[in-house]
């Protein structure tokens, strides 16, 4: 019996090419009628890229910003996961720790930026503390929720074999919370890119944020846009990296397709 053929997976997403193509085309056409400092054409933005590459800022500043994001998020994840695990596994600790986590989470990222500038010396310390403050509550919440969501049925099945606490954590809780943790990473990465740029704008002399500020003070719109593109691409790159890790770690999950 012949079944309906499965839809083939396309190598290129045509809809995406059309929508992005239309956007870029309208940009280019509009640039012909508007001044350079409002809407520069692609050739100008491309020239800016070449200049950034020649001056080596494209590589080093991008790398530095990415490093700051990654270092901050890893630190935030370690602290947040620790909070989440303690709250999720030690009785009543949630009542004590959650108000602190929520208070820190309630402080706006911009306020944190100003606070760390006043509290700490040295760009790297400031950015690290800032990234920690904005990311760890998110990780703490997601790890706690994930632990609370571990199936009671799986827990009972496991307890019948009389595992140690360590085994319960390693063999049941840890694998159960992986999907939630990866979702938290995806959400936080996008947020972290925005926050680190603000931090570099306000309090750094290196990094993409600082370069953008430089270009803005020179009224160089092409430069601002070139660096913005770097950010967009970096953000998307990190998102797809997490997606790759996700599909590797969660290959056991049934897919709707």
């Amino acid at each position: 019996m012949d079944g309906e053929p499965l839809p083939k997976r396309r190598a290129l997403n045509i809809e995406m090419v059309i929508s992005l193509g239309a956007l870029l085309l309208s940009w280019q056409v509009a640039s012909l009628f508007l001044p350079e400092y409002v809407l520069p054409g692609f050739q100008l933005i491309f020239q800016e890229f070449l200049k950034m590459a020649q001056e080596r800022t494209l590589f080093w500043d991008t790398l530095l910003t990415l490093y700051r994001i990654l270092r901050g998020l890893i630190t935030g994840f370690i602290v947040g996961a620790l909070f989440g695990v303690v709250m999720g596994t030690v009785k009543k600790t949630e009542h004590y720790l959650m108000p602190i986590v929520n208070f820190i989470m309630g402080v706006p990222a911009l306020s944190w930026t100003l606070i760390v500038i006043l509290w700490f010396r040295g760009t790297e310390t400031r950015i690290l503390v800032l990234m920690l403050a904005i990311s760890f509550p998110v990780f703490a919440h997601s790890v706690l929720d994930a632990i609370k969501g571990v199936s009671k049925e799986w827990m009972e099945m496991t307890l019948v074999f009389r595992p140690t606490r360590g085994q319960v954590f390693r063999m049941l809780i840890l694998p159960s919370i992986v999907p939630h943790v990866l979702t938290a990473w995806k959400v936080t990465v996008g947020f972290a890119v925005r926050v680190v740029i603000v931090a570099e704008l306000v309090g750094a002399s290196t990094g993409v944020g600082f370069r953008m500020l430089q270009q803005q003070s020179l009224l160089n719109m092409s430069g601002v846009l070139a660096w913005t593109l770097v950010l967009v691409v970096s953000g998307l790159g990190m998102q797809s990296l997490i997606s790759m890790v996700e599909s590797r770690l969660l290959r056991w999950r049934p897919t709707l397709s």
Binding site: W154, E156, M157, V160, F161, R162, R253, P254
Partner: protein, 254 residues
């Protein structure tokens, strides 16, 4: 001495300041190597009884002991001694069939090679040799329950407890699985308690059937010798007695 002794077992739950009796003065015994079926209406406290047997619930009053020890109080004494097959398969979705079958053995610190060997043996017994690398979502409900059975047998427990293990499967699959399961029990001579709401299933599986009322307490204790299993008239007669006992328990309360 009986393997399992349950003496005046009572379990009371508190739900929003209201007490609710799930088990009330339940008494029964199970001998070593015996297969006992426990039957009762849905919600009569059968699963709570199973949870007390597994040491997952603390009895409110009375005593339930296996080999003289209480599963809840002497929790760690039962390491490697108990296994359970639940109503739903309770397979871990991130583990393959083989990894699910080795789960208990891994907890009991069996060396890698030995646990794979044991798990493969039991997977073969339940007819899943060619599926060891599949993930649970790739299997049918019956196959998943078979993995659950392999996982339970793999640690070679002293007591095997089953809670409506085939209740959610279609009749044909359930029948096949029940036969295979019974063969494994007979082969390994495990002390088993099989909880079900299906009287036919209880009579087919159990050497003895305990009939529970609501809240869980003993209404009847029926011996089911092999000759009875092959005699439909006799079986129907026992079934109607069990139904009568359960119904009159319900009427008495109402």
């Amino acid at each position: 001495m009986p393997k399992i002794e349950c003496h005046n077992l009572t379990k009371v739950f508190w739900i929003r300041n209201q007490s609710f009796e799930a088990i009330k003065d339940l008494n029964f015994e199970v001998d070593s190597g015996e297969l006992v079926a426990v039957v009762g209406k849905t919600g009569c406290g059968k699963s709570t009884t199973l949870n007390v047997l597994l040491g997952l619930e603390r009895p409110t009053h009375g005593r339930l002991a296996i080999d003289g020890k209480e599963p809840y109080k002497d929790f760690d004494f039962f390491r490697g001694k108990l296994s359970a097959v639940f109503q739903t398969d309770r397979l871990l979705p991130w583990r393959t069939v083989l990894q699910n079958a080795t789960y208990g053995l891994e907890i009991l610190h069996f060396p890698q090679q030995e646990r794979v060997k044991k798990a493969r043996y039991w997977l073969e017994k339940v007819g899943l040799t060619h599926f060891e690398n599949a993930y649970p979502h790739e299997l049918s409900g019956g196959m998943r329950q078979r993995v659950g059975i392999a996982r339970a047998f793999s640690i070679d427990p002293e007591v095997l407890l089953c809670d409506e293990a085939f209740g959610h499967l279609d009749e044909v699959t359930a029948r096949q699985l029940r036969d295979d399961f019974l063969n494994l029990i007979r082969e390994t001579k495990k002390t088993s308690v099989f909880i079900t709401h299906d009287i036919d299933e209880a009579l087919e599986l159990g050497e003895r059937v305990l009939v529970l009322g609501k809240p869980a307490r003993l209404l009847m204790n029926v011996q089911v010798p092999p000759a009875t299993k092959e005699n439909p008239t006799k079986q129907a007669e026992i079934k109607s007695r069990i139904i009568q006992a359960i119904e009159s328990d319900g009427t008495r309360k109402e």
